[in-house]
């Protein structure tokens, strides 16, 4: 309460009133002290009025706070009892329906597939040959693996990236130690932080010096591997892993305070969201146009050039961002239970 009280005293209206009553120099604290030491006589009546007004304002403010608290309490009580139950029931019903639907679709697909070991199945004759013979011409990527995983089988890769994101979310739910609502840390978090301070190298000059040299090189190398994914071995997954290794090295050397300046939960959420949705939208467009026999309008470029392969390079970038964020947040959560 005392903190709020002082906030309320120093709000602009109060300061302006003080300024009017005490003269122009009263805003400066040191001058206020000097004046009070010189014991300037204030008129008795205005002090009384000021005290009354302050008391009234305080009472009004406290009443509004109490009302607010009551409303919040009622809402919380509703959520805790009936609301949670209702939401839980809907959630279970939806999850069951989704699971049944998914099982139905998968079984339906399996029923249409050729028998296992069938010599006439397309997987044993056409597909592999087509990848090798016409891969470069159709995808524009010299690296045939990139052409496969990001063009022919891009849907599968979207699933892999989403699995990474879901795994990060699950680890976040299980391992994250929340603060209390007013921002003070719980006992568990204090214990985790003291453990961390004890066992991890904090402010190690040798490590910091070498990290200053190594981290930019590691990040550049990761970016090179991502951007060169359609030309040479590599791609989003390996490049993202290298970038996250660089970030983890930086975190080890400089601690959570400095790393938190550029990487927070918000960064993780936005980067993952934008990368995955960009991937899904771009590939949905390309699949839709391709399935209907329309030109997609994305130039494939000359194979071997850096700007070639159509959508493969942007998709590599998206995958790399998701992978690096996921690995970094895994490390932070397993180490301290938070960012």
């Amino acid at each position: 309460m005392s903190k709020r009280r002082s906030d309320w005293q120093t709000r602009p209206q109060a300061r302006i009133r003080k300024w009017f009553q005490q003269g122009f120099t009263a805003l400066d604290d040191e001058i206020i002290n000097q004046i009070s030491q010189q014991t300037i006589q204030q008129p008795e009546v205005s002090q009384m009025m000021e005290a009354q007004r302050e008391a009234m304002d305080t009472r009004r403010y406290e009443r509004s706070l109490a009302l607010e608290r009551l409303e919040r309490h009622e809402l919380q009580a509703w959520v805790r009892t009936r609301g949670r139950k209702a939401i839980g029931r809907v959630y279970v019903a939806l999850a069951l329906a989704m699971a049944v639907l998914m099982i139905f679709f998968l079984l339906e697909t399996v029923a249409h597939m050729p028998r296992f070991g069938d010599p006439n199945a397309p997987v044993t004759n056409e597909v592999t040959e087509r990848y090798i013979t016409r891969g470069v011409e159709e995808t524009g990527a010299v690296n045939i693996v990139a052409g496969m995983i990001l063009d022919y089988r891009a849907f599968d890769t979207l699933g892999e990236s989403t699995v990474l994101f879901i795994a990060a979310s699950a680890v976040l739910i299980l391992l994250r130690i929340d603060r209390r609502k007013d921002g003070t840390p719980v006992q568990e978090l204090i214990a985790a932080e003291s453990d961390d301070r004890h066992y991890e190298p904090r402010a190690d000059r040798i490590l910091q010096g070498s990290v200053m040299v190594l981290t930019p090189i590691i990040l550049l190398f990761g970016i090179y591997i991502i951007l060169n994914g359609h030309l040479s071995p590599g791609g989003g997954f390996s490049g993202g892993a290298i970038i996250s290794a660089g970030l983890i090295l930086y975190l080890d050397a400089f601690g959570f305070d400095k790393a938190g300046r550029f990487f927070t939960y918000k960064t993780f959420a936005w980067v993952s969201f934008f990368s995955l949705s960009f991937y899904a939208l771009a590939k949905a467009y390309s699949f839709y146009m391709g399935a209907n026999g329309l030109p997609s309008g994305i130039p494939l470029g000359t194979p071997g050039a850096i700007l070639s392969g159509g959508l493969i390079m942007p998709l590599n970038i998206a995958v790399g961002m998701v992978v690096s964020c996921t690995m970094y947040i895994f490390y932070a959560l397993f180490r301290k239970g938070g960012l």
Binding site: H198, Y199, P201, D204, S210, V213, L214
Partner: protein, 113 residues
């Protein structure tokens, strides 16, 4: 002639590097205490890897591969001593008896602590 020279150089460098690596592996399994084992491991990480990669550099087909291998050597010589330093620092932080030399079995930290 030049090919033979290159072959002999490569073989010699690789052989010496592998010898150092094997020595360091034996040392890691032979010693008991962290700091002693770290000494053996760091030797293999720096000198052994240096000789192996120099051998590969000599036998590299073109100049760019050789330069990349040299960059890998630079990277490893940056990273390996720093990680050794961190291991030593961790040991000094958590073992209160680390400075009592010569080390006796009762000074070693228990496995489960």
């Amino acid at each position: 002639m030049l090919d033979w020279l290159r072959f002999i150089l490569t073989t010699g460098l690789l052989a010496s590097g592998l010898t150092i690596l094997i020595t360091s592996v034996i040392g890691v399994y032979k010693f008991d205490y962290v700091l002693n084992r770290m000494h053996a491991a760091a030797m293999g990480d720096t000198l052994g890897v240096l000789f192996c990669l120099l051998g590969l550099t000599v036998s590299a087909p073109d100049i760019w591969t050789a330069l990349k291998l040299l960059l890998i050597i630079v990277f490893l010589w940056f990273a390996s001593p720093v990680s050794s330093h961190l291991v030593a620092r961790l040991e000094v932080t958590i073992n209160p008896n680390w400075h009592q030399l010569p080390l006796k079995p009762e000074h070693l930290m228990e496995e489960d602590t």
